[in-house]
């Protein structure tokens, strides 16, 4: 069969790879690529969904950078959220999974309990947290009061509204925890045994063995939660009744974009905003990918 020799091993492997991701590619081309290109084109127009779509050049972008009175506020709020929430939730998830990666009786129960919040999601959880964070009667301040701490006004105080949201995000580290836990359980016991024989204590084992071995998962978690962090919308929309919180402290980028699109019906403008966000996230992700080889350790591979 001469024909079968047409492709060498490498090409064939590549083709098979493409074949496997074909469903995603088709989905992307059919459902995502069209709207994506459309939004890019429409960001140069005054598109309002129903009655107008005239080319206005770079005016939307000029207005955003030079004139908009809330663009920088919303970008600042979003960056604030990302800068704090990504490291805190990542470290939180690692610490939690390290604690849960032990062989003691009842561990399954604790793993389930800590994972549960990750299963619950959406508006119900935000409403629950609004109650928990109520300054006067909420559980959070009640518990703080037991220790003599006068809790802040959380969502009513512009200085505390964003920290309140970040704090809330910590509650659902269970999702990340699951990934870290799986990865930690894959680490060979012999590494720890060898370290123990060499006299390394638990902390040294954690820093020198566990952390390097789970860096691929850390990398994945950081990249995805960074992207997710920039897209924060629902939390602010629900918890501030769509208003943006006290002194616009919860007016995140996507909330402001939503207001422009569906309150002012300035869809072209909102689309320009979405492309700016895309570029920001894109650049950060590229930086992440470039930095990865310096700290991400892949077992058994020079990759």
């Amino acid at each position: 069969m001469a024909g079968r020799k047409r492709f060498n091993y490498k090409t064939r492997e590549g083709l098979q790879g493409y074949l496997f991701i074909l469903p995603w590619i088709i989905g992307f081309l059919v459902f995502t690529a069209g709207p994506l290109l459309f939004s890019f084109a429409a960001s140069f127009t005054n598109y309002n969904i129903t009655s107008q779509m005239d080319f206005i050049g770079l005016k939307n972008y000029e207005k955003l950078f030079a004139d908009d009175q809330l663009f920088w506020t919303s970008l600042y709020n979003t960056l604030y959220f990302v800068v704090f929430s990504v490291p805190i939730t990542t470290v939180g998830a690692i610490v939690l999974s390290a604690l849960l990666n032990r062989d003691i009786p009842g561990m399954r129960f604790f793993r389930t309990v800590y994972y549960l919040p990750a299963v619950l999601s959406g508006v119900g959880v935000y409403l629950l947290w609004m109650q928990l964070l109520e300054p006067g009667t909420g559980l959070v301040n009640t518990v703080l009061a037991w220790f003599g701490i006068a809790g802040p006004n959380w969502l009513f105080d512009p200085d505390w509204a964003k920290p309140a949201l970040i704090f809330m995000k910590l509650w659902s580290v269970g999702g990340g925890m699951l990934l870290y836990l799986a990865s930690m359980q894959g680490i060979s016991k012999s590494l720890y045994e060898a370290a123990e024989i060499d006299g390394a204590n638990a902390w040294q084992q954690f820093i020198r063995i566990t952390v390097p071995m789970i860096t691929p998962v850390i990398f994945f978690d950081v990249v995805t939660s960074l992207i997710g962090g920039f897209q924060i919308f629902q939390e602010a929309y629900v918890m501030s009744n769509g208003e943006g919180g006290p002194v616009n402290s919860l007016l995140f980028y996507n909330l402001y974009m939503w207001k422009k699109a569906f309150e002012a019906f300035d869809m072209g403008y909102a689309m320009a905003m979405s492309w700016i966000l895309f570029i920001i996230v894109f650049v950060l992700t590229i930086i992440n990918l470039k930095l990865a080889p310096k700290w991400v350790h892949y077992e058994g591979g020079g990759k």
Binding site: I49, T50, P135, N153, N248, E263, F265
Partner: protein, 440 residues
């Protein structure tokens, strides 16, 4: 090797096909079939966000009555959740297959007219002019350049609820609610029961059931952006109002206000029900909560107090319109249904069953006399009807629809003590003016 290849092709083919499965039952195919109806009737799709166990049966009864009242049109009610209904509608308008009638926010009706999201109803109104059936302020909110784009359905207002027993205790006449801002302050002082830094009973806090904008409207009856697109934020009356509101805020302090505010939001725990709050501004429908959670409460209602004697008891309200989305397939039939929906019979039924303010004047006045209401119910509804002519709306200005995002933070800053009222209003005025200039 060969088997493997075919297997993978097959596998992917299955994946692709299963992905396409969703296409077979397209929404549009279903709709076309529906639109014809069984016996040649025109079928209309009517979208509302009324899905609660109280409201849904009422709206569906009205639809059923309409369907029985004639044999050409059949209306089907579709409940779409509050958070989705208008974005979904917008997408369906853009796609060219909108519902036939939809319930939408009255304040943004002109904006939707300008953006061609709703059909111009003038040609129908020329034939049967029903504009006189509704409160004038409501009707005017539906107009863009003189044409109506939606017919008012229900509405609301803000009135003052007060605790008669607390009034007696404080040595006030329970039949004499406060009439002016000064009296509000004076009565509140008498009603206050202080306990250290905290309060066992709070007399009144104006921002519990109403926003800064409501009191500003009460003071000068002028919207932030008036009908000539002029910014009217930094005015002497609004400055007075902001100072007055700030003095209330200082009187009770952040901690008390926040902790009471949160109790206010949990229904059963509302301090007004327990007698811990003397007076409260609320919508008339608040009565249904008193009825359900505090049936023994001895309370009264009054018009919103006026700034000074003779200034007027101006209140604030909103509401919803029934409208035909732009590009709907059967506008003539839709109009027939809207007429029924906003006519006396349906409106009265809605008013009585939901204890809700309706836009049709005659229906509202008849409902106030309804035997289905208790004595207290009649008292509250009657006052609500009395308040309607004093009630102003805040129509979304076409020149700057999203201006509240710019001014609310300024008010917040005043209450937080970060800006003086003068500075805040000056800044707010500048920002809104800038937004208008940008949008030109």
């Amino acid at each position: 090797m060969r088997h493997l290849k075919w297997l993978s092709v097959l596998f992917i083919a299955v994946l692709v096909l299963s992905g396409c499965n969703g296409f077979t039952k397209g929404d549009s195919a279903k709709k076309d079939k529906q639109a014809e109806g069984e016996d040649g009737k025109v079928v209309l799709d009517f979208w509302t966000f009324w899905g609660s166990e109280i409201r849904r049966p009422v709206v569906e009864k009205i639809v059923e009555d309409f369907n029985k009242s004639q044999d050409k049109i059949e209306v089907k009610h579709t409940f779409v959740p509050w958070g989705d209904i208008w974005t979904k509608e917008l997408a369906s308008i853009a796609a060219g297959s909108p519902p036939d009638v939809v319930i939408n926010d009255i304040n943004a009706t002109a904006l939707r007219g300008e953006k061609k999201q709703a059909e111009n109803l003038s040609k129908y109104l020329e034939k049967d002019d029903i504009s006189g059936n509704f409160y004038e302020e409501l009707w005017n909110a539906t107009l863009y350049e003189g044409d109506s784009y939606g017919i008012p359905f229900n509405t609301d207002t803000r009135v003052l609820f007060y605790n008669k027993d607390a009034f007696k205790e404080a040595g006030l006449d329970p039949e004499q609610p406060p009439k002016t801002w000064d009296e509000l302050w004076e009565f509140a002082e008498k009603l206050d029961v202080k306990n250290g830094d905290k309060y066992d009973r709070m007399g009144f806090y104006p921002l519990f059931g109403a926003g800064t904008d409501v009191w500003m409207l009460n003071a000068d009856k002028v919207n932030f952006i008036d009908e000539n697109d002029e910014v009217k934020i930094n005015t002497p009356e609004k400055l007075d109002t902001l100072k007055w509101l700030k003095s209330w805020h200082d009187k009770y302090g952040d901690n008390n206000i926040n902790s009471w505010q949160s109790q206010m939001e949990s229904q059963q725990g509302n301090p007004f029900f327990s007698g811990d709050l003397g007076m409260l501004v609320q919508q008339p429908t608040f009565f249904t909560q008193i009825r359900d959670y505090a049936p023994d409460l001895n309370f009264g209602v009054a018009l919103l107090p006026e700034k000074e004697p003779g200034n007027g008891n101006t209140s604030w309200g909103g509401g919803f319109v029934a409208e035909i989305p732009y590009g709907a397939k059967h506008p003539d039939e839709s109009w027939e249904f809207i007429k029924y929906l906003t006519d006396k019979e349906a409106q009265e039924y809605w008013a009585v069953k939901n204890f809700d303010n309706v836009a049709n004047k005659e229906a509202a006045e008849t409902a106030a006399e309804s035997d289905e209401f208790s004595e207290d119910g009649k008292m509250v509804y009657g006052l609500a009807v009395e308040a309607m002519p004093h009630t102003m709306l805040t129509p979304t200005p076409v020149v700057a629809p999203d201006f509240p995002t710019l001014i609310n933070p300024e008010f917040d800053n005043v209450y937080l003590g970060k800006k003086t009222p003068e500075q805040a209003l000056e800044d707010a005025e500048k920002k809104v003016q800038k937004l208008i200039d940008q949008n030109k």
